[in-house]
């Protein structure tokens, strides 16, 4: 293939990748989009392999076969609740691949055609590969920590090292200084040292961030993996890689922004860490306030007499594996002619859009699943709301109490419904560690039980 033809093929791959992402504007178009993504990838790989310099077909086939089998098996077996871990794991692989490719380019620059007249690595390539390797290393080690926290291999509580800001700043400065030195004089030892430091800072950046902020962390790492790929794309002078890196980088950045806004946090406060561990601290006093509690039978009675019901699911629902029992109850209500919808807060799961996937898995039609902005006005005309496995995202303190740590966070305004059925094991607070006034409201009925058991009991009573 002539260089022009090769460049055109990479352009075609880039266009297919853009269309693949564009397809996600609706579930129907998304399936076609995924096929376009696969097509783009096939074109990119085939275009590279037909290059006459690339002859080790055995090696390539072996790597594709090993990676392909592992990837396919994992992707087919993974539980939908474990999707955040899987994505974190995938991010780490992109980061590591970027580090390895940059290392290969350092080791054998002539293969990549990035040698200058003096036999050294070209000046711009030194900058590009350094940036690619640093971001790649941070993506790798940061994603490994995120994976370990999500998988429960390490506690989701923030790990607050003493003087960590000073350590991070010193490390960051050291990386920058070493990188500048490497750009001036491409000594591989400098490259290895700042790469090692980047691995360390990746760990240090993610350990202080608590479990509650994981949706932001995953999105940020998604963005980093894109920027790392783009950095390598510059080294390779490959337009498909530059375009894809830019797309993925901005995608992750937008998702991070959506998550940060949905929690009313700032990027800075998330990055500084320390917020929200595995479980909030024990409720602070004042738990002698009266609550109205009910049984599955009471709940079924309320639901049967409702004309419209909105279900507010949270991550606790997925932990309790209650989504199937919940969908069964919803189906029974629908058969009775009751309008049932699901209200989704952007941070309802452990990653952006996680709750939608969990509900889709339980065969809930996607038209019944409504985002926060669209459904908030409807709570006032709703007879019954079921809150299941969610807490902070319904807390009216976010609107009323300027002293509350979650003040200003957009919430689902469930308190405006006629009756709120709140399924919860106890009155313990959520991630934010604060009491929820909703528990004590006149129109709230607390259903103290395991979410799955309670949904099964309600379904039986209907």
């Amino acid at each position: 293939m002539s260089p022009n033809l090769t460049a055109l093929a990479y352009l075609a791959a880039s266009v297919l990748f853009i269309l693949a992402l564009r397809g996600l504007s609706s579930p129907a178009a998304a399936r076609r989009g995924n096929l376009m993504g696969i097509g783009g990838m096939a074109i990119a790989i085939a275009t590279t392999v037909v290059n006459p310099d690339i002859v080790s077909y055995g090696w390539i086939a072996a790597a594709l076969a090993i990676g392909g089998v592992i990837g396919t098996v994992v992707a087919r077996r993974i539980e939908m609740t474990a999707m955040p871990q899987l994505i974190a794991g995938f991010h780490s692989l992109v980061g590591m691949a970027a580090v390895l490719v940059a290392s290969a380019a350092l080791n054998h620059p002539s293969t990549y055609g990035i040698v200058d007249a003096a036999g050294l690595i070209r000046f711009p390539s030194r900058i590009e590969m350094s940036l690619g390797v640093i971001v790649g290393a941070i993506t790798f080690s940061g994603s490994i920590v995120a994976f370990a926290k999500l998988q429960g291999l390490m506690s989701g509580d923030p790990v607050m090292l003493p003087g960590r800001h000073v350590i991070n700043i010193v490390l960051a400065l050291a990386i920058v200084v070493l990188m500048v030195m490497f750009v001036g004089n491409p000594d591989p030892n400098l490259f290895w040292v700042f790469t090692a430091l980047a691995f360390v800072i990746g760990v240090l950046l993610i350990i202080p961030i608590g479990g509650a902020d994981m949706p932001v962390v995953i999105s940020m790492l998604n963005s980093y993996s894109g920027w790392a790929a783009a950095g390598i794309g510059f080294t390779l002078e490959n337009s498909a890689l530059i375009v894809t890196g830019a797309l993925v980088g901005s995608s992750g950045a937008i998702l991070s922004y959506v998550m940060v806004k949905a929690m009313n946090r700032s990027f800075l406060s998330v990055i500084l860490g320390g917020f929200g561990g595995d479980a909030g601290p024990a409720a602070k006093g004042k738990n002698d306030r009266p609550v109205k509690s009910g049984s599955a039978e009471d709940a079924a009675f309320v639901l049967k007499n409702a004309a419209s019901v909105i279900i507010v699911p949270g991550y606790g629902m997925a932990v309790a594996q209650a989504q199937h029992a919940l969908a069964e109850t919803a189906d029974k209500l629908k058969e009775m002619g009751i309008r049932v919808r699901y209200a989704i807060h952007p941070v309802a799961g452990r990653m952006p859009g996680h709750m939608n996937v969990l509900l889709a898995e339980a065969d809930v039609p996607y038209e019944d699943v409504v985002e926060l902005e669209e459904i908030n006005a409807d709570f006032a005309d709703t007879d019954a709301v079921i809150v299941i496995g969610a807490n902070d995202v319904t807390n009216p303190a976010a609107k009323k109490d300027p002293k509350s740590p979650i003040f200003g966070m957009p919430i689902l305004e469930v308190e405006r419904a006629k009756t709120v059925l709140f399924i919860k094991r106890s009155l313990a607070p959520g991630y934010a560690g604060i009491d929820n006034d909703l528990f004590y409201a006149e129109n709230t009925m607390m259903l103290f039980a395991d979410a799955k058991k309670m949904m099964q009991d309600i379904a039986k009573e209907l």
Partner: protein, 96 residues
């Protein structure tokens, strides 16, 4: 004086960031998880860099690094597209 290829690459990059910005805002929030899975798969197009390292006849450390990078990227490519397909297949409409 000719324009350095780096400037063309930078132009492509900046424009692609803008394309990404507008394309991603048009993605429905319901599909943000599949979005992340598919971005993972496509960013593994970094495999082209690994192919270049592992491709030459001559044996070198770079070839081994390229082989490992190819394998990792392949896990991501296959895993990312398969899991995206799996998730999207679950999103069903009410009218079946």
């Amino acid at each position: 004086m000719e324009v350095d290829p780096l400037i063309w690459e930078l132009s492509i990059f900046v424009l692609a960031v803008f394309v990404g910005y507008y394309v991603i805002w048009s993605v429905t929030p319901a599909l943000h998880t599949p979005l992340m899975a598919i971005t993972n798969a496509v960013s593994s197009v970094i495999i082209v860099g690994a192919l270049i390292a592992a491709g030459p006849e001559e044996f070198s450390a770079a070839k081994v690094l390229g082989f490992v990078a190819m394998t990792l990227a392949a896990v991501n490519i296959f895993g990312g597209f398969v899991v995206t397909q799996r998730m999207l297949a679950m999103f069903r409409s009410r009218k079946r």
